[in-house]
Amino acid sequence: MTTAHGIQSAAWLLVALPVLSAAVLLLAGKRADKWAHWLGALVPVVLFVYAAILFFSIKSESNREISLHLYSWIPVAGFQVDAGMLLDPLSMVFVLLITGVGSLIHIYAVGYMAGDEGRRRFFGYFNLFIAAMLLLVLGNSFLSLYVGWEGVGLASYLLIGFYQNRNSAATAAKKAFIANRVGDVGLSIAIMVMFAYFGTTSFDGVFAHMGGASSGVAAALGFMLLLGACGKSGQFPLQTWLPDAMEGPTPVSALIHAATMVTAGVYLIARSAPIFDQSQAARTAVVVVGAITLLYGCICGCGQDDLKRVLAYSTVSQIGYMFLAVGLGPGVYAIGIMHLIGHGFFKAALFLSAGSVMHAMNDRIDMRRFGGLARVMPITYGVFLCGFLAIIGFPLATGFWTKDKIIESALDKGGTSGWILGIVALLGAGLTAFYMTRALVMTFHGKRRWEDDVHPHEAPRVMTVPMIVLGVLSLVGGYLLIFGGGLQHWLTPSVGSSIEEGAHTVSPVVLTILTLVVVALGVGGAWVAFGMRPVPATQPVVVSPITTAARKNLYADATNEAVLERPGLWLTRALVYLDNKGVDGVVNGLAAAFGGGSGRLRRLQTGFVRSYALSMMAGAFAVIAVLLAVRFS
């Protein structure tokens, strides 16, 4: 660990700059409307340039873990938290991804949001998102990570609910926030456990203590961190918010899915590698969550007719792959991160081209009403095709390098579990090919199915240029990452070295061919089902039970509703009833008893003087009787 010097000591600008610009954009008011989007788009570009300089500066160091002390944040007697940054290979990879892909999405959004009167507000939130995500990956303690973590949650809430007058958007934003909150509770408990057992929350402090920690503490930390990661990354069982988050504008979906937010969970687990190294149980849980989510996302993705939802489920399943990789243990972390970056490229490309389609189709997103767009929108089609080839793992495209590695690592785990995980991952690859082909064919091929009032057109250049860059990156990015084991080498100081090329369960060549066969089967199946037959313009009603289940997200929302929402509703109703009838009943009953009693007692005040006199005399007699009784008893 070396101290930051020279240009590295300005790393705090990475967080400060977007926060500042967000504040300017949100506070400047209408007078900023003319230039706000350019400022908003300029900031991440500047950050990217600085991050690139920083990257080379760190690359030239012999010790590539650089700490930057900023100020003493929480100085309490036995508890010291310093605000600081950790510039190491892992965080630099994320910073480059966030600022790089983030810049392209920002530039794209300038064109995409051109007709929206809330564009200034949008860019304010967008910069806030970038700032929070950068704080998340740059913080040098779990506590500063947590601040960024919450900031990301807030920014995503604001952006998903950006169309605030739309009911569905408001609901989706709330859903995302609440699902994230469940995960955040896990992370905050983990931080409390760290403080209780180790008295520190900084990365070095906690990891230094991990060797001596009991297995119980390690498992508790692992499971709580996993819960946090599941919430943020949309993993099973907290995945339902992610598809609904499509209610936000498309650049938001791209940013959430490609550069920020969902990658935070993977980052957390990769960063906490020393904790997961200590607990086999937690590691197994990560793998299981990854495998379940991977299949879940694939199956749901096959049943959706909404283009953006298909992509959302594909993110769910791709993040499942990353969880699977980082859960497999030392050596596979780098592969998970590699897939994350590759995914950042091709998912951004896919989302941006989906946004371009939406832009052209008057915000309609039902794939059954598209068809034959390839001829009208050639650039968008090309970019989508690049993303498509990358995600299905077409030879030499990004997914081919990164996803196949994950399948290989899963099989190399050995034993029955290795076979199960490998087959799940392989099956996922086939299903991914199926639903992506379906989306491609339904959107861009076949006969046109859109209505006459829609006039599709290619997007303006400010949108197409970032799309093309991302499309090219999705094709060649994987090769660049894997070239000479570059990224794995680079990440070694942060996540440990990769496994030596040793014994494989299945030889890589056989596995590659097998994967390609499975992928080809998926593509072919989808082509037969959707490419060769005309696609009905409305959803068919009579379908197989599997399709119905996939359309209903495998009943995940229904389960949440039945298990969590309904009992909660009942409990609330019971409590309201108890409050109305019980607590209020006692108070109101007492008041009514006094009121009624007084009303009756009042009648004694008749106004007849003689009756008063009689009662006075009765009283006098009573007093005398008592006196006499006392006197003579």
């Binding site: 106004g607 003087v609 003689r610």
Partner: protein
């Protein structure tokens, strides 16, 4: 001549007065009955003063007379004004001050 007779007489007068206050409606009669009760008490006081050979009772009797005189002045004035406004001296008619 035993003091007992005086006490019995006083008790009888007091009872008559008390019953009169309770049963009569005419304010003047009620008023007179009150006077009767006061004087019955006076008689008792004087009797006990005589029995005990002290002057205390007699002094208090004077006080009672003074109070009674003052009471008559105010009471009669009130009764007069009620009679003027309501054309009646019945105590049951003046029953507005109630629930």
């Amino acid at each position: 001549m035993t003091p007992t007779y005086y006490l019995v007489l006083s008790a009888a007068l007091f009872t008559i007065g008390a019953v009169g206050v309770l049963v009569r409606r005419n304010a003047i009669v009620v008023f007179m009955c009150v006077e009767l009760m006061l004087n019955a008490v006076n008689l008792t006081l004087v009797t006990f003063s005589r029995i005990n050979g002290t002057l205390d009772g007699q002094v208090i009797a004077f006080f009672v007379m003074i109070v009674a005189a003052a009471e008559v002045v105010i009471g009669l004035a009130i009764i007069m004004s009620i009679f003027r406004t309501r054309r009646s001296a019945s105590v049951d008619d003046a029953n507005l001050l109630k629930y």
